[in-house]
């Protein structure tokens, strides 16, 4: 039995859960982040009614920027219907009561755990990332005092040491997510845990991109049309994942980010769009993939 049914009073929450003082504090951090693209702004992260690692940073950022007129979309791994996305959407449904959508184009605020939607975002949208570890240098230099100094002095040779190690061990740059980027030629930023497939989408994106790390108490931002360059070597240039000769089994899309779905224990598998809204929109437009055609035949 929920509290709402016990009492006819509306829930004793402020709009979007956080109190207005907290939102102002977070907005100040966001503004500072926008003013210095890629710089990690410390903020007084609050306890959220959810464990760390479930997007508490992203939720606080969303709560601070969302208004009653906004339309919210929440995705986890590109999908609107996975646990994390459902939980966060429900949270904002109860505490803010804003309109919800799964359609990328209709949303004004999109909170995401990994992916950037396949559909191009526009200048009236805000993309909020949930970030577990904001510090790109963390695993090479554990001292926070030292990494802050390295950011301050723009000493980023160490970032290439990581990429060097990748090539030495695997023959190519094997980092496939949390791939470090240089923002406006100044700050190295971790877009974690976004797959590197989406790194080029960050570059000069029309929408505002905000990153919130709740446990680490950091906020950073990419204002619209910011230069975002993935780090690489001259003889090992940056490249994104690609799936040669693969099309989405449901909608037939190519050149998108795929999820691999295991179908049985005999090696059967299919690839489908990781972005569920993009996939559904394409099917609605009449694009179909191999598995969908197979279903149709079975139905008839």
């Amino acid at each position: 039995m929920s509290l709402d049914t016990l009492s006819s009073e509306p829930p004793a929450y402020n709009f979007a859960y956080l109190d207005e003082q907290t939102k102002r504090m977070i907005r100040r951090a966001i503004l500072k982040g926008i003013a210095i693209p890629g710089y990690q702004v410390p903020f007084a992260s609050r306890e959220m009614p959810m464990p760390y690692g479930w997007g508490t940073g992203g939720m606080q950022v969303t709560a601070a920027v969302i208004g009653p007129e906004d339309t919210l979309k929440v995705i986890d791994q590109g999908s609107d219907d996975t646990t994390n996305a459902v939980a966060i959407r429900r949270f904002f449904d109860r505490t803010a009561g804003v309109a919800m959508t799964t359609h990328t184009a209709e949303a004004t605020v999109i909170q995401t755990r990994h992916r950037i939607p396949e559909e191009k975002l526009t200048d009236n949208q805000v993309l909020v990332f949930q970030v577990p570890i904001p510090e790109p240098l963390r695993f090479l230099e554990p001292r926070e005092t030292e990494t802050r100094k390295m950011h301050a002095l723009s000493e980023y040779g160490l970032m290439h040491v990581k990429l060097y190690e990748d090539i030495a061990r695997h023959g190519h740059i094997a980092t496939s997510y949390a791939y470090p980027v240089m923002v406006e030629g100044r700050y190295v930023m971790d877009p974690s845990p976004t797959p590197k497939f989406d790194n080029p989408k960050m570059h000069k994106m029309a929408a505002l991109q905000l990153f919130g790390a709740g446990r680490e108490k950091r906020i950073y931002a990419l204002p619209p049309h910011t230069e975002v360059v993935s780090l690489d070597f001259e003889d090992h240039p940056f490249s994104v994942q690609d799936w040669p000769d693969t099309a989405c089994a449901m909608c037939g899309a190519e050149q998108v980010y795929f999820d691999e779905v295991i179908l049985d224990d005999k090696g059967g598998r299919m690839f489908v769009c990781s972005d569920s809204d993009y996939c559904e929109a394409r099917q609605a437009e009449g694009h179909f993939g191999a598995a969908h055609a197979h279903h149709q035949e079975a139905a008839e």
């Binding site: 695993f139 090479l140 100094k149 002095l153 000493e155 040779g157 160490l158 290439h160 040491v161 990581k162 060097y164 190690e165 090539i167 030495a168 061990r169 690489d232 070597f233 001259e234 003889d235 090992h236």
Partner: protein, 268 residues
């Protein structure tokens, strides 16, 4: 590659230290230290533990700011600057390009989590080298020069012996062709035969590259073998300085005499 130091260049100091004093609160670290270091010269600082050697080395290498005094360094373009007045950003650039620092414990000077090749290549990447193949070629070359099998370029330094780790640390420091290298007890913790091999290697590199080295040690045998000049420290002060052979063969100060006479004379 031989040191292209003209006689004239050798006559101009690289580093000038004047009135260097450091206090830890009220406790004395070192006091009124003055000396010059010339290009291609090895200067040994000896003394018992607690005599201020490491304080002095840390002041010189800008790890700590001295309470008083000045350290002037001559850059490649001939201009002089007071290290104590330089910005921290410039100090750090200096430390990873024109200088080297070899720690007593290789764990302090190496990145133990990345391969030997990455350890050697780090400074190159720090100064903007962005070509993997070339970085790797230089790293391979340097491993050979410090007598590490280039086949081990992708191995973790953890899997190296103590002597190899120390040589790797030296390679990592020398890859940007520094002019001045600080060494803090580089042979401490190594067994005698490995020590001898390392000393040979350092001597050869000094001769080949024309490096200036400031080496801190309590081992007079190391000082005798490596250094041109020696400074003896006691209770934070330099009590005796001069040519190594002169000081060690004819020590004036009672403390230096004690140090010299306490060397074990095997087979004497």
């Amino acid at each position: 590659m031989n040191a292209q130091l003209t006689p004239a260049a050798r006559d101009i100091p690289l580093l000038q230290v004047r009135g260097l004093t450091h206090f830890y609160g009220t406790h004395l670290g070192c006091r009124d230290v003055e000396f010059d270091v010339y290009p291609g010269e090895v200067l040994a600082i000896v003394g018992e533990s607690g005599s201020g050697k490491s304080t002095l080395l840390n002041c010189l290498s800008t790890q700590i700011a001295p309470t008083e005094g000045a350290i002037h360094y001559r850059f490649r373009d001939g201009r002089w600057e007071d290290l104590c007045r330089m910005s921290e950003a410039d100090q750090r650039v200096l430390l990873r390009t024109d200088w080297g620092f070899v720690h007593q414990n290789p764990r302090d000077g190496l990145r133990m989590g990345v391969s030997a090749g990455a350890n050697v290549g780090e400074r190159l990447m720090a100064i903007g080298n962005r070509h993997y193949g070339r970085i790797r070629d230089v790293a391979t070359d340097w491993l050979g020069r410090v007598e590490i099998d280039p086949d081990r370029i992708d191995d973790d330094p953890r899997t190296f012996s103590g002597g190899m780790q120390q040589r790797l640390q030296i390679a990592r420091n020398l890859v940007t062709a520094p002019r001045l290298v600080f060494m803090d007890e580089p042979t401490g913790g190594l067994d005698v035969s490995v020590q001898a091999r390392l000393l040979d290697l350092i001597r050869r590199l000094v001769a080949d590259l024309g490096l200036a080295i400031i080496i801190v040690t309590h081992d007079l045998a190391v000082a005798r073998l490596l250094s041109d000049r020696i400074m003896v420290m006691k209770q934070g002060k330099v009590i005796e300085a001069g040519l190594t052979d002169q000081v060690l063969d004819d020590p004036h100060q009672p403390y230096t005499q004690l140090l010299v006479s306490s060397i074990l004379q095997v087979g004497a």
